[in-house]
Symmetry: C3
Subunit: 150 residues, 3 copies
């Protein structure tokens, strides 16, 4: 019989970067008593996101962060060609890191769907699920985890 | 008892930019009679996409649009370094805004999974779900909304 | 009665580019005996991804590949403005195509949720689901396909 289980998780972040959620998500799945199903993980914010990436070498995470930081700089929109004017962000009330954080969120994922089986997320050997914080300060982040299965 | 409900929505857009779908999606969920479940929203086109972003300050949307427009210009692929040749889009039969629209779609999301509970989408205070139109002209866009829950 | 069906697929790729998965996914759905439901397709790797894009003109795929290749070059992070130093990738043990592949994965999707009905994926006329390989060499790629429906 298929049933569902909707949970909430809280994560504290301290500056831009990655928090590995995989173990916490697996604990929630195990405690639901469900063996196999679909997990929908959603981030309830617009300046951090979810991503699946490499779980072994922390330099992968450093390179990911460096790339996204260069792609979406705090100064504003830079013409890709390097020619033309810088256009500063219009939305700057909450500091220079806020609008880049919204754009970095749009370029990654606010929610993820993954299978679980045997009471654990079905991930590849090298995959982890990360919360990707895009803001500079200390933040309390809320996630929903929705399990549907048997 | 878990059950499902598959619906279609139509949205008219007039040029690149954002249409807030949140209220329309909530009306569909309410009319389904389901209280809690998973909603899969899919865009049935390859030149517009779905995104979750800030619902309060319209300048956020203006900055998102300006960023993606600069990142994927109509002229073609520009080397990030600013050095080297411009490579024009090969696919240009449907106008200069078409190939950039396909790329902008690939960089955002064609479908989203979100929880709903209490007959409404489970979103953060500042989150809205937008259709992000990437083409210039007037368009009729079809979306599917699949609800599974109880 | 809602039920679920979890499957695995293998795909062989030979260099960066696209493999259309649509027909293979439809065959799996048909063989499950399910008519209508949600399909969660997940890629169990961190250097290839899933994307939905245009199914008609192969030049769209060539332009998508050219764009992402220019955006995430093998040399490292290039400042968007064209000014300033190149910062080489820290993670380079597995060759120059590996770290760009992780970033291209982060900018696209590791998993997709789509509806199916009539025993087939509910896609727009011009949509196909692709595995987007981001590495240079020959690879064996594993995907999971999770169907839940009736």
């Amino acid at each position: 019989m298929i049933r569902q289980d909707l949970r909430q998780l809280e994560v504290y972040t301290s500056g831009a970067g990655f928090t590995d959620l995989t173990a916490a998500l697996n604990r929630e799945i195990a405690s639901s008593g469900l063996d196999t199903g679909i997990a929908v993980i959603a981030c309830l914010h617009t300046s951090c996101s979810l991503t699946i990436n490499e779980n072994a070498d922390p330099r992968v995470l450093a390179d990911l962060e460096a790339f996204l930081r260069a792609l979406v700089p705090e100064e504003g929109v830079k013409p890709v060609s390097g020619r033309g004017e810088l256009r500063r962000w219009l939305h700057d009330d909450e500091g220079p890191d806020d609008m880049p954080a919204h754009i970095r969120t749009a370029l990654t994922c606010s929610s993820l769907s993954q299978s679980f089986t045997g009471g654990r997320l079905l991930l590849g050997t090298w995959q982890a699920i990360y919360l990707w914080e895009h803001r500079s300060g200390r933040q309390k982040r809320q996630l929903s985890l929705h399990l549907i299965g048997a």
